[in-house]
């Protein structure tokens, strides 16, 4: 069989966006190859969730068991390995998410099938799978080819496949779970929610985002001063939080917050994918970066290629002047 399979990702009673993106990708591939898309759903007591994707794939394979109530890479791996071995799909898609990063490489290795991770695109040309990935801090893309095999596995980056409507009448197939308890070597305990913050960067109209380019913690005072002049809040990229210069609740990106202010000003931020997903839907994006090749300029509306410390003082003065008029 040369079907396309994909794994539904869900968490805390919601289907995650990446699932719809993968189904959009999977349907397009299936159509091109004249084959079918199967969505694999591992979960518990989740009729409502299955119902909500009923029109998204030709077939939905449901494995309903309490063991799949929460994600556990090891339980998922056992079940998926069984399914893939039995069905032998041409290609299986998993999200390159915190769940998928835990699962995909181990699953591919167990099955002995060629796999790769974090793909922006996958094509099948003359029966050969070609994936596009990003490397070197987002500065280059790579086309990747695979060792020849009847079955492949890839994980897809979030946000790469704009979700399309679908109105397929899905066939629902229930499958017996190969396991009924988590393996004794890995147990899910609980979720830890993000701490409640005093400054909510998601509510601000103007966000001044700072990255490693600000160099020193002491330079934050300058940024705070600029932000208050322009009437915005200070947010940041991950390294600023890692270095403990700002609290976690100021972090923008995949493992931080998603912001959509009217204006986002990126100062000394390179524009890594994980940062950009958290701010790319801002109304207007201004980036100041001394590296003209920084990927942030692929997302910005306006760019200044310069040292931020040279521009910030005059920028502040121009804002003050503008406000006084």
């Amino acid at each position: 069989m040369s079907e396309i399979f994909m794994l539904i990702e869900h968490r805390q009673d919601a289907i995650r966006d990446i699932s719809y993106e993968m189904m959009t990708c999977g349907r397009a591939l299936a159509e091109k190859l004249n084959t079918k898309l199967t969505a694999v759903f591992l979960g518990y007591d989740a009729d409502k969730l299955v119902e909500s994707i009923r029109d998204q794939a030709h077939r939905i394979m449901v494995v309903n068991n309490e063991v799949f109530k929460e994600f556990n890479a090891e339980s998922y791996q056992i079940a998926l390995a069984e399914i893939i071995k039995k069905e032998n799909p041409l290609l299986t898609l998993i999200g390159h998410t915190a769940f998928g990063m835990d699962l995909c490489p181990a699953l591919g290795t167990q099955l002995g099938i060629p796999f790769t991770t974090d793909c922006l695109d996958v094509e099948i040309i003359d029966g050969k799978l070609i994936a596009t990935r990003q490397m070197y801090d987002g500065k280059l893309n790579a086309k990747i080819r695979f060792r020849k095999n009847p079955s492949y596995l890839v994980s897809l980056r979030t946000g790469c496949f704009p979700v399309r409507d679908s109105n397929i009448e899905s066939e629902i197939v229930n499958i017996e779970s190969p396991i009924s308890a988590e393996p004794d070597y890995r147990k899910f305990v609980e979720y830890i929610e993000a701490a409640i913050s005093d400054v909510d960067i998601t509510k601000a109209d103007v966000v001044v985002g700072v990255g490693r380019g600000i160099k020193k913690k002491e330079n934050l005072a300058l940024i705070e001063d600029f932000a208050s002049t322009i009437g915005g809040v200070v947010a940041c990229s991950r390294p600023i939080v890692d270095a403990e210069w700002l609290p976690k609740d100021r972090q923008v990106g995949s493992s931080g917050k998603t912001v959509k202010p009217k204006l986002y000003i990126a100062l000394g931020i390179s524009g890594a994918f994980q940062h950009v997903v958290g701010m790319k839907n801002s109304g207007t994006i201004i980036a100041i970066n001394k590296d003209q090749n920084a990927p942030i300029f692929n997302e910005a509306d306006y760019g200044i290629v310069d040292d931020l410390f040279r521009v910030l003082p005059t920028f502040k003065n121009s804002i003050i002047e503008m406000k006084s008029k």
Binding site: F115, E299, I319
Partner: protein, 257 residues
């Protein structure tokens, strides 16, 4: 507690111009600076913290060319007891899978309780070595750690999920963990330690010790190219005073503040 830390030396490309080499499959490396991969620094620090608590030894291991011996010496200076370099020059083209196979070929004969790797290498950005290596060794794993506490032979770990959410899971050891940045504050190596590390032997493992026959590549790079532009940026040029006026004008015109 015996700990293995996998370490990679990577080009620092965040602020550098990255050029494609004539083969179209690699980058021009001679003008780039190299350093220990960012999340590996946190992995090493986590190993040192565990060793300080429980005793034991740390082995730093890197599949790399001889240039990376400097990076391994930094690991020695920061607290690793021994260092192993798997000679990349012996094994031709590499991908994540082949790298994991080579690491596994060496690690399978070493005693360990925990293996740490970084959660991603910033050059090829696969995030697959850790979980692949764990599977090859037949041990459990967890990726993207933001916290770890070992009590008896159970590790209580926090994994980073999306949007600030984390999960708490329990994993029995021996196990492999990939470490996310920010889990600790990596220490600097003291000058004395750096000097001491300079004299230490780095164990070399190559094709004489590892058979090349069984090694498999999952993937190969066909070509590298500059990413297509998602959105056409307007670059504003001029002196800081000029660009600032123009930006303020845009902000006013669009009613952004």
């Amino acid at each position: 507690m015996d700990i293995i830390v996998c370490i990679k030396r990577v080009p620092q490309t965040a602020e550098a111009k990255v050029e494609i080499e004539s083969s179209g499959k690699d980058i021009v490396k001679d003008r780039l600076t190299f350093d220990m991969n960012e999340s590996d620094m946190y992995a090493l620090e986590e190993a040192v913290l565990l060793k300080e608590k429980f005793g034991g030894t740390i082995i730093a291991i890197s599949l790399s060319c001889s240039d990376a011996e400097d990076t391994l010496r930094i690991a020695l200076a920061k607290g690793a007891d021994t260092a192993i370099r798997i000679k990349a020059e012996d094994f031709d083209e590499l991908d994540g899978y082949k790298t994991a196979q080579l690491l596994s070929a060496v690690i399978k004969d070493i005693h360990f309780d925990v293996i740490f790797t970084g959660c991603i290498a910033t050059d090829d950005a696969y995030s697959q070595i850790g979980a692949t290596l764990a599977e090859l060794l037949g041990i459990p794993h967890a990726t993207l750690l933001t916290n770890i506490e070992v009590i008896d032979s159970i590790s209580h770990v926090h994994r980073e999920l999306e949007g600030g959410l984390q999960e708490h899971i329990e994993i029995s050891i021996p196990a492999l963990f990939t470490i996310q940045t920010g889990i600790n504050v990596p220490r600097y190596a003291s000058l004395i330690a750096i000097r001491r590390a300079a004299g230490k032997e780095i164990k070399l493992v190559g094709q004489n010790e590892i058979s090349k026959d069984q090694l498999l590549l999952n993937t190969q790079i066909e070509e590298l190219f500059i990413p297509p532009v998602a959105k056409q940026v307007k670059i504003i040029t001029g002196s800081p005073g000029e660009v600032s006026k123009e930006l303020a004008g845009i902000i006013r015109e669009k009613g952004l503040i």
